[in-house]
């Protein structure tokens, strides 16, 4: 089935060949980020959209934390969608926008310890973490932050300190994050300092 997010507006070609660059690039990024066409992001309200666009604008080229009281998943999906809309053009099937589900990522890393090296999937995730123009980090509310979990996130954030890259951590109230130890204090301190309103 050919599903294109621009179908109702499109007039780019004389006939849809189901493989134009617009369809290929947007579908690739949506699929990579698990955004199905029945996702709520496609009927976001104007104020939700405005908020996400403003967060993205205020975070360009830096590392920011967005605190969300309601659903961190819904916000990270919408941020991801808005970032895809901003960066799909000319992406040439590179994963320019990636929503990293941090809890799942940690699970995959820990699983790789008991196998012979990283799986291909984990290899790709690591590539996207380092190269995505916009990286959204979500699902940190499901993590118990011990030293390893803190260190992994801190070093990931450090590796993203590049003015060409944007990194947004979607977090519940920082005081509600679960964890302990000196690195946890450093992590929560960093997340609080980078907060975008």
């Amino acid at each position: 089935m050919v599903n294109c997010i621009f179908a109702g507006h499109c007039f780019e070609q004389s006939q849809c060949d189901s493989s134009c660059p617009v369809l290929a690039q947007t579908s690739y990024l949506l699929e990579r980020n698990n955004i199905q066409l029945n996702s709520p992001v496609f009927h976001a309200t104007p104020s939700e959209l405005r908020r996400c666009i403003s967060i993205l604008d205020n975070s360009a080229g830096s590392i920011r934390t967005v605190v969300e009281n309601m659903s961190t998943n819904a916000l990270s999906d919408l941020l991801t969608y808005c970032a895809i809309c901003q960066h799909w053009r000319g992406s040439q099937l590179h994963c320019t926008v990636y929503n990293l589900k941090y809890a799942q990522y940690l699970e995959a890393v820990q699983k790789s310890w008991s196998s012979n090296g990283d799986s291909e999937e984990l290899d790709y995730v690591k590539i996207w973490i380092s190269s995505a123009k916009v990286l959204i980090i979500s699902n940190i509310d499901f993590v118990n932050f011990k030293d390893f979990q803190c260190q992994t996130l801190l070093s990931l954030l450090q590796s993203r300190m590049n003015p060409d890259l944007t990194t947004i951590v979607v977090s519940p109230q920082i005081s509600t994050l679960v964890g302990d130890g000196p690195l946890f204090a450093r992590l929560t301190d960093l997340l609080s300092k980078q907060k975008v309103v």
């Binding site: 089935m1 050919v2 599903n3 294109c4 997010i5 621009f6 179908a7 109702g8 507006h9 499109c10 007039f11 780019e12 070609q13 004389s14 006939q15 849809c16 060949d17 189901s18 134009c20 066409l37 029945n38 496609f42 009927h43 976001a44 104007p46 959209l49 666009i53 604008d57 205020n58 360009a60 080229g61 830096s62 969608y81 808005c82 809309c85 901003q86």
Partner: protein, 395 residues
Amino acid sequence: MSLMYSSTNRIKFTDISERYAVPKQYKAKLTEVHGSLILYVVNHFHNTRSYKQKVVNALNVLTYCIMFNETPPFNWKTDNPIDTIPPEFDLEAIQEALSDYWLGIESIEWDVSPTSDTAKSAPNRVESSRVTQPRPARASTTARTAALVQRGVMSFTPKEDLYIQAPKYPLFDFSKPWLSMQDLQGEKFVIYTTLPEIPTRQNEISATTDMSKMTDAELMNLFPNHMIQTRAAAMYEPCPGIEYDDDLGCIIPIEGFTADQVRENIIKYPHFYKLKRWNEDVLSSFYHDIEIDGELMSVSAVWDSLVESKVIPKQSDFIKEYVVRRYLLERDAGVQHRYEMYGTLDPFLTLFMPPEQYVARGFNDVLSISKQCVQSRISFKQSRNPVLKRLNIHG
């Protein structure tokens, strides 16, 4: 460094949003932020050098932020765009970065009057007479400003709202397929109803829009709240030998039609975008060829033989304008072309000025104009939609 605007080549303050010549890629965003600032200044203007300096600094900082991908000041607010610019910006560095695009107080013609409150409160700080006497803001801006303030809306309509292209963040209702069909090879295509179902901006109108659901107020809401330049930038520079309209730009001569007819045609068709036509089974750019007496000829081959070419500059924007404008004038006068445009192009596809300005130009029934805009856009998109074409459905 040669400044684009200087004391000998000034730009009107109220024109900065529209006419400030910056690279195309920044134009839309700059129009929006400068628009907010102009709107604010019109309502809070002090005719003092220090106030003007603050305004100019804010303009330059915002231009710099947009052009150099910097985040606008975090606390910057459109409802107080001057005082929310933090003082720590290094204006010298910004001047160096902006180079020709830097604006100084002297490079602006301050066509704004002090508001009654500010005029009373600062009688001793009025500038000396060497500064140009401020003129009232353009009627279109002040009238609109009053309406905006009344309605609590604080920014100008951004140019993007008028685009024919899809909105940057397309939205649709997955539960409402507008069309779901298989082609002859069994491949299934779906077009979902776009959202918002009731368009609030012209660029939200799609092939799936149902105009019958729109109220008169919703239709009227599609007009922009200020005049927006929609033609190619070159059309808004006066050109020797070509009639010039302050709002519409160059009224190029077209043999067989009066300047008034051309002017009316510009109002009905203020914007051309990716027009094409069939030429021997190949879809080609509309601007490449011109049909003369039923024959399709390459524009570059016949340009010099056209009477109008003596006056119209041989530049791509002017040539495009001539080719399409002539075609539309002929078509609307009843000429049947052999090589027709691909898809429809009906009048008022783009509403580019507030309703009162249409009325001022003799188009009194503004409601029917807004209806025509919706119909034209639906038709434009349906008649070119690649999915409908693939499924052999003609909009």
